[in-house]
Symmetry: C2
Amino acid sequence: MRKVFQNELAKLEDELVTIARLVEQAISDATAAFKTSDIELAETVADRGSEIEQACNALDETAIDLLARQAPVASDLRLVVTALRISSSFARMSDYALHIANLARHRYPERAIPKGLKKYFVEMGRLDTEIVGRLIVMLREHDPRLLEEIDDVDDQIDELHVRVFEKVLSGRFADDEASIVDATLASRFHERFGDHAVSIAKRVADL
Amino acid sequence: MRKVFQNELAKLEDELVTIARLVEQAISDATAAFKTSDIELAETVADRGSEIEQACNALDETAIDLLARQAPVASDLRLVVTALRISSSFARMSDYALHIANLARHRYPERAIPKGLKKYFVEMGRLDTEIVGRLIVMLREHDPRLLEEIDDVDDQIDELHVRVFEKVLSGRFADDEASIVDATLASRFHERFGDHAVSIAKRVADL
């Protein structure tokens, strides 16, 4: 029974890693679509979003089925509940990737990325992709020291978020209302993406 | 055993209603603080946020404890897992109330609420408060028909969200960058608040 249970927990872990890889691709594509106003790429982010949602639902079913059949207690129980929560955070991260891609779609054929801010958003996207990469390693290796690294990457995202807002509020960012709205939302979406990554890392570290 | 379990489920439900009442107060206070730039009121929203976080953590512990001791299956198991998810959504709604209150704090002594948009945000706040009120009834009475009403209120919030963005993007909304940023974020926070309420209502309806 114990061995069966361990195999099932390993399956949950595999499913989380698969979801994380999809989220990594989604945020990378969303950043590129936002940068170049690439509508077709933005649409692949929407397709990937549906795929992630299905994968999260499947994982939730696996976890609930496991609770029902095995009735785990103590640390095993917490592990299954944690898997449910991590899947929910990944679903939110996928939503943020989709929101970023949608900014490109809504503003088309104009460029969604405001002039003078392109480099910040490209860097935020790179850090988002990096943070998911480290989460995948953490999910695989259960090394709590990775939490600190993930926290550092999130701090860098937060710094860029503050800088984008400073730029927008400075008045020197002389652009139209649409650019200000897009910059505000895109920056916020990247910041929240990073926050969710930290929240997942904390949950893994607490296991 | 069954009776004990039913009592414990009823306790979970009571805890959810208590959390919902705190969230209702938080969004109502946050809307008022945002409207009048009332710093002291904004700070009570932060205090209430900590209270809600503690209540959500306590509920999560009750639910996990219940899973461990009673090992529920089938619909009872889904009910406990649903309670965990609802508590997580209420925690997010509390965060959105706090974000709205923080817009008032960050912009003080300026008014955070952009000129010409005050009525929209007051109405969004009223609808947010109304939507939580209906959620509380739904949690108590388990009447799935309330989902439709909650969906309607959310549609009204979404309409106001679109109107705020139209106003901001129209160019007739001749205000400074800070007002555009605040309007964009506040409107988004209200919209997300409503979305979480619908997501909770769907979960209750599915039970």
